[in-house]
């Protein structure tokens, strides 16, 4: 119990007083939101790795996925687990912190220190809850751009991210083409499909059906809709995997027993696995934040923002793109990536496209996937040579 309370305390502190760096934007620097409102004041929590060079030309912005955070290459303060992309980012690794300056921020609407629904609303001195206006992917990117300004960086060398992070990469390239030398969107789409919106709605309804959700005011009420959030996570987690990977990993194997119990215990390993995923998730994530993040993804439609023609989002771009998809990803299937690639072609952009053959599903972008790494390595290094950051071999 004491440990659980400590976790709860840590989590509460992370939302308003994170253990990473923060930049605060006061009344003179409001964030214009797509929903119409101005968010002010607000704060962005971030981590950096490596050193910004004198020309300020070696910065890589890493964009996190739905439930990710700024702790991309260092231990997570809540869970103590390694950074979510520490297989890729670090000294001597593919995204080499000895060579590049890595910035990763917690997105606006998140719950690890950037202004989100768990943050204190300065007008009421209570958590925002649902009083926070809806946040879009473009809002997240606008806020990131202010963070990049804060570092005095005019042009990022690269913007990289998977899934919701990939949406941010595309939005960066569309909104600030002159500020992005190269863009690496992985396992993502230029819009959220109706199937994806459907899964998100299941998750949101699970959260809101939990009596502890209290109309979104659970923090004030001293409660947490853990069951609803865990169910939301369980449903979502299935979409991150593939059927063949699930079968390979679990099959119909039983969990810690020889025979079926003829009841509703977690007889099967897959049930036990999902329950574990749900339980560990509620320890590190805020339920309202989950509502806002999923909504941001649902609203994302880059073509609609540009008169219905995706190619127009990238008209005249000089950014170099490398689009990556996975064969077994049914959340963002290869066809979604191809639409992006076709639009970039139609816009005359410099684009590479790699479809990685793997059975690990959407989550493959977070795993040690050699073909993915080889594509990223090739793309980053050749772009670095073009940018004058690396010697020609």
């Amino acid at each position: 119990m004491a440990a659980a309370r400590a976790t709860k305390k840590a989590r509460k502190d992370e939302a308003n007083d994170p253990s990473s760096e923060i930049v605060r934007f006061g009344a003179e620097q409001p964030l214009q939101l797509d929903a119409g409102a101005l968010l002010s004041p607000f704060q962005i929590a971030y981590k950096t790795y490596g050193t910004l060079n004198a020309e300020r030309s070696n910065a890589i912005l890493v964009c996190h996925a739905l439930t990710g955070d700024q702790h991309v290459a260092s231990p997570n303060p809540v869970t103590g687990k390694p950074g979510w992309w520490d297989v890729l980012i670090g000294p001597g690794l593919i995204i080499d912190t000895d060579r590049y300056f890595i910035i990763c921020s917690n997105v606006i609407g998140g719950c690890l220190g950037s202004t989100g629904p768990a943050s204190i609303n300065p007008e009421t001195n209570k958590p925002y809850g649902l009083d926070l206006p809806i946040i879009t992917i473009r809002d997240m990117v606008r806020a990131q751009a202010m963070l990049v300004d804060h570092f005095g960086i005019d042009r990022l060398f690269a913007v990289v991210g998977g899934s919701m992070g990939g949406m941010q990469v595309l939005e960066w390239a569309a909104s600030f083409p002159e500020r992005v030398f190269c863009a690496l969107p992985i396992a993502t789409g230029a819009r959220h499909s109706s199937q994806n919106i459907a899964f998100h709605e299941v998750g949101r309804q699970a959260v809101m059906a939990d009596p502890e959700w209290c109309g979104g005011k659970y923090i004030e009420a001293g409660k947490r809709p853990e069951k609803g959030l865990a169910v939301a996570r369980m449903a979502a987690h299935i979409t991150y995997l593939s059927e063949s990977a699930l079968h390979r990993k679990f099959g119909r194997n039983l969990q810690d027993r020889e025979v079926l119990t003829f009841g509703f215990d977690a007889d099967f390993q897959i049930e036990s696995y999902l329950r574990h995923q749900g339980m560990t998730f509620v320890d590190r994530f805020d339920a309202n934040s989950y509502l806002y993040m999923t909504r941001a993804m649902d609203y994302f439609d880059l073509a609609a923002d540009h008169g219905g023609r995706l190619a127009d989002a990238f008209a005249g771009t000089s950014t170099r793109f490398c689009v990556v998809s996975f064969t077994s990803d049914w959340l963002f299937p290869t066809s979604e990536s191809r639409q992006i690639v076709h639009a970039l072609n139609a816009a005359g952009a410099s684009v590479s496209f790699v479809e990685i053959d793997t059975d690990r599903g959407h989550d493959a972008f977070l795993l040690d996937e050699p073909e993915l790494f080889s594509a990223i390595r090739g793309f980053i290094h050749s772009a670095a040579r073009a940018r004058g950051l690396e010697e020609t071999p």
Binding site: F353, S374, A375, S382
Partner: protein, 204 residues
């Protein structure tokens, strides 16, 4: 893609046809050898399409802009006259619908450059005549049952196809087994018999 990279004597011929700083799309670009040559020597703005993961990864590693895809399915998405030259080297015979592909090449590019192994070469003819078996040569190393090449043609067949799709042959080069150009003064039948490979520059 369909012949050994070491045998790619057509690449130099193709490179000669391309003007400096042109926009070039190489369809079936393999490991990117031609694109890299063109970017280095002719400062072209090059793009590639390649079906194999190994080829695409190699290209991306070389800093080339290459899309994983195939000529039959993906050319339709490219805008009209988006490139100065569209190259299809040693790939035509591996496409499902060579006529549609050729049509797309001429639509996408101001010029199309097509190179292919000539199935009218005397060795091919002789092999079929004397041995009664599908030819397996240095340039065409596959057995009939596992070859990616499904639509072979002769130089004469290709000239007919060009007529059918309304393409003008701006220049044509036949290469003999040693990779040397066959004299321009030679008649078509001679090319068709002694040319092991052909390179056509087309426009519409």
């Amino acid at each position: 893609m369909s012949t050994n990279a070491a045998q790619r004597v057509d690449l130099a011929v193709i490179a000669d046809l391309i003007t400096p700083r042109a926009r070039v799309l190489d369809v079936g670009c393999g490991d990117g050898e031609l694109l890299q040559l063109l970017e280095r020597d002719k400062q072209v703005d090059g793009r590639g399409v390649e079906i194999s993961q190994r080829g695409v990864n190699e290209c991306v590693g070389r800093g080339l802009s290459v899309i994983q895809g195939d000529a039959d399915a993906d050319l339709g998405f490219y805008p009209d006259k988006g490139f100065d030259f569209v190259v299809l080297s040693q790939t035509l015979q591996a496409t499902r619908n060579p006529k549609a592909v050729l049509d797309d090449l001429l639509r996408i590019g101001n010029h199309a450059i097509v190179s292919f192994p000539n199935f009218g070469h005397w060795q091919v003819r002789l092999s079929l005549l004397l041995r009664g078996r599908m030819p397996v040569t240095k340039d065409l190393p596959y057995s009939w049952y596992d070859t990616p090449n499904i639509h072979f043609c002769t130089i004469r067949d290709f000239v007919n196809l060009c007529d059918e799709v309304g393409a003008t042959v701006e220049s044509a080069t036949a290469l003999n087994a040693a990779g040397q150009r066959i004299g321009l003064s030679m008649p078509w039948w001679f090319w068709n018999f002694f040319g092991q490979q052909a390179v056509f520059l087309l426009k519409r």
